[in-house]
């Protein structure tokens, strides 16, 4: 399938050129033959033959030599315009001329052919190199197929399609195909045959020789990976050198596809492993959070019933308080899990209404009163805080979670403050504690699910802050944490105010 820009059979044209040029030059020399002598003309004609050999194939060059010799004889050797030669040395020259012309022509033609071969080989190497470069920078199976289509298309003038098998070695019917052409049913039959028998099929092959395309199997280490189909655009036969280049191409493409398939499998396996790990961590954490208060309840309940050896009745008040506390803790854990679930599933639908921020803060304080117990609480909320639009319950929960977080992570009896400010187009609610602060590199991570700052006591679901952030973000607000210069942590909620209530 070498490219041939000429439309007519090139042989005829070449012969035509050979004869025309030779005769033309001979005629041109005719006027000067009397000045330079007819023997010099022979050298000119010899030169012309050699030059023709640079461009034409051997046959025409040989023809040129003979025509040149005859022309020289006819036009220049006396007697003129006859093919007879008067002198012996002219006859010897004539014979020598033919020989030299033929030999020179032949040699030059050979040099040219060699040169063409080298160029051809270089082109093939360059093509293979370009393909390999593209294949090695491919980042996915699609990239590989793209590269294959580009290169096979431009080098061989053919359409490519790649049929990929399943990871377990099976090929679906119909199989997954990507490429620049869609194989028809009879072509798919040949493709499937190639896949299962791991042999080429199609044109120029023993099997399915009557279809236009050729299918070559892509073989993996253990089982076939797929099939490459090549269908030439013009009706041309693949030259022998091209055939081996094609095989090289297919080998490179096959190995690239195999590489990408393995990459894909590895990626999937590692994601699976990571998911499993996270899942187990979460399950363990939740299990612990649920079982601990249940254990406390069961234990206290058992004790309520017990009769001590010395006949004393159990301290019922203390035990019932334990049951109470544990049950509330259980309630909070379950609420957190449900809230997180709602956030994850995206089913939060805000039923917004006007909210009084002071009211909100008060409700949050009441909701977290058990955890806040023992911490002196101050609320700083100026009177001109505008009403904001939001879902009261969600906002209350968010603020309550920040309060609980502050209470749980600071030493008992340390003060906690809530400060509310109105900005130009927002309202900020800050929860400030005087605890140990949070490590700088953890400040953003604390809003991630189940994140635990290293070294802090475990307890709590690790969901309070993510839930707060989720609820606030549902209101298009933000929650951030920062360490105060004077020690302690400040968590700030910023809620946008888009409309003002008119009342």
């Amino acid at each position: 399938m070498t490219r041939n820009p000429l439309r007519f059979p090139s042989a005829i044209i070449e012969y035509g050129i050979a004869v025309t040029v030779v005769i033309g030059v001979a005629l041109l020399c005719y006027p000067i033959s009397s000045t330079v002598g007819y023997r010099s003309v022979s050298l000119i004609l010899l030169l012309v033959t050699a030059l023709l050999a640079l461009k034409l194939s051997r046959g025409p060059v040989l023809a040129a030599s003979i025509v040149a010799a005859l022309a020289w004889n006819y036009l220049f050797i006396p007697p003129l315009f006859t093919f007879t030669m008067g002198h012996l040395d002219d006859a010897v020259m004539f014979a020598a001329f033919i020989l030299v012309a033929a030999v020179t022509g032949n040699l030059t033609a050979r040099i040219r052919e060699r040169e063409l071969l080298v160029i051809e080989r270089e082109k093939r190497t360059a093509a293979l190199f370009a393909l390999t470069k593209d294949l090695s920078s491919a980042r996915s199976q699609d990239d590989v197929v793209h590269a294959a289509i580009n290169h096979v298309g431009s080098v061989f003038g053919a359409d490519v399609c790649v049929l990929v098998g399943e990871p377990d070695g099976d090929m679906k019917a119909p199989p997954r195909v990507t490429g620049s052409w869609e194989p028809q049913d009879h072509e798919l039959e040949a493709a499937a045959w190639s896949y299962w028998n791991e042999r080429s099929s199609g044109r120029n092959c023993a099997d399915f020789p009557d279809i236009l395309a050729t299918f070559n199997p892509i073989s993996g280490p253990r089982y076939p990976l797929g099939v490459i189909g090549i269908r030439p655009r013009a009706d041309a036969v693949l030259a022998v050198e091209q055939r081996s280049l094609m095989d090289n191409f297919i080998a490179q493409i096959a190995s690239a596809i195999e590489r990408e398939m393995l990459n894909e499998l590895t990626k999937r396996a590692s994601v699976l492993a990571e998911t499993e790990r996270l899942y187990n961590t979460v399950l363990n954490s939740i299990s612990h959070e649920l079982r601990t208060p249940i254990a406390a309840i069961l234990g206290a309940a058992e004790n309520l019933d017990a009769v001590h050896e010395d006949g004393k009745s159990p301290p019922t008040k203390m035990l019932t308080e334990e049951i109470h506390t544990a049950a509330q803790r259980l309630n909070r854990v379950i609420s957190n899990l449900l809230d997180m679930s709602r956030l994850e599933s995206g089913t939060i639908r805000l039923r917004t209404d006007w909210c009084d921020v002071r009211d909100l803060v008060q409700a949050s304080v009441r909701a977290s009163s058990q955890e806040l117990h023992g911490h002196p609480l101050s609320i700083d909320c100026r009177e001109d805080i505008p009403l904001i639009r939001g879902a009261f319950g969600l906002l209350e929960q968010a603020v309550a979670n920040l309060l609980v977080n502050a209470a749980v992570h600071t030493p008992p009896h340390t003060p906690i403050a809530v400060v509310v400010h109105a900005g130009a187009d927002n309202v900020t609610i800050s929860v400030i504690d005087e605890g140990p602060g949070i490590a700088a590199n953890a400040l953003n991570h604390i809003f991630e699910k189940f994140y635990r700052v290293a070294g802090t006591p475990s307890g709590g679901t690790g969901l309070g802050l993510p839930i707060a952030r989720g609820f606030i973000e549902a209101h298009h607000g933000t929650v951030t944490a920062s360490n105060r210069d004077s020690g302690g942590t400040e968590m700030t909620i910023v809620l946008p105010v888009r409309e003002k209530a008119s009342a």
Binding site: R358, Q362, A501, S502, A503
Partner: protein, 228 residues
């Protein structure tokens, strides 16, 4: 043998029924139980309870439906039992005629208080002329409000608001109800009015407006006038 008012419990969960019975019998109430909505509706007619406790999570009927059926027959006070984050359902029920609500898990003290409030409200005591609680006193006839003996100046709207609360001590009032009563039916969506006026009222009568003890917010539902 108990002789107190009959209370009908409509709840499909046996543990909740047991808990309610344990809570209501000692103070002297007579408890009847229905395990689903249909039974509840029919028993509300046959047992003639003075109060109904209705759980919204019934298997056979929507709680709102049960409430509507009950309301077709009587004006018996109904207290709704619901779960967290169901404010919308609670508000719908209150607007349909329920008197109050409790969120599970609830404190038994609160339950008893709400029951008392609901029963009291059923027998309106229109004879009260002066309401006093703690350092707040409201002279309903003379429309004078005193805190710690000092007269508090309220606008007409603020007074109407306070009077509404005083006439409904302990009972939850939804925004809609407040707006409808004070401002009229066309204002039922203007919740900013309630927020703003409640805020102003609190400033005038509460010791600490950020920690109100009289007018308490029922999250996402409305307000409650809490008495000492």
């Amino acid at each position: 043998m108990n002789t107190g008012p009959i209370i009908l419990i409509i709840d499909d969960e046996a543990p909740i029924r047991r808990l309610l019975e344990m809570t209501l019998e000692p103070p002297g109430y007579r408890v009847r139980s229905a395990v689903n909505g249909r039974e509840g509706v029919s028993m509300s007619g046959t047992e003639r309870p003075e109060l109904i406790i209705l759980d919204l999570g019934l298997p056979d009927m929507d709680g709102l439906e049960v409430l509507r059926e009950i309301r077709k027959q009587s004006k018996t006070p109904v207290i709704i039992l619901s779960v967290r984050n169901a404010e919308a359902d609670i508000v719908d029920c209150l607007n349909e005629g329920a008197d109050d609500y409790l969120v599970k898990p609830f404190r038994t003290k609160e339950l008893l208080a709400r029951i008392q409030t609901a029963l009291r409200h059923k027998r309106p005591d229109q004879t009260t002329k002066v309401f006093t609680s703690g350092d707040l006193s409201v002279d309903l006839a003379g429309r004078v409000v005193r805190k710690n003996g000092t007269v508090v100046k309220l606008t007409a709207t603020e007074y109407s608001l306070l009077a509404l609360f005083v006439h409904n001590p302990g009972r939850v009032l939804t925004h809609r109800h407040i707006l409808e009563t004070i401002w009229g039916p066309t204002f039922v969506e203007e919740t900013q009015y309630t927020r703003v006026y409640i805020g102003q009222l609190r400033k005038k009568i509460e010791d600490d407006p950020t920690n109100p003890k009289w007018i308490v917010t029922a999250s996402g539902v409305g307000y409650r006038f809490q008495m000492e």
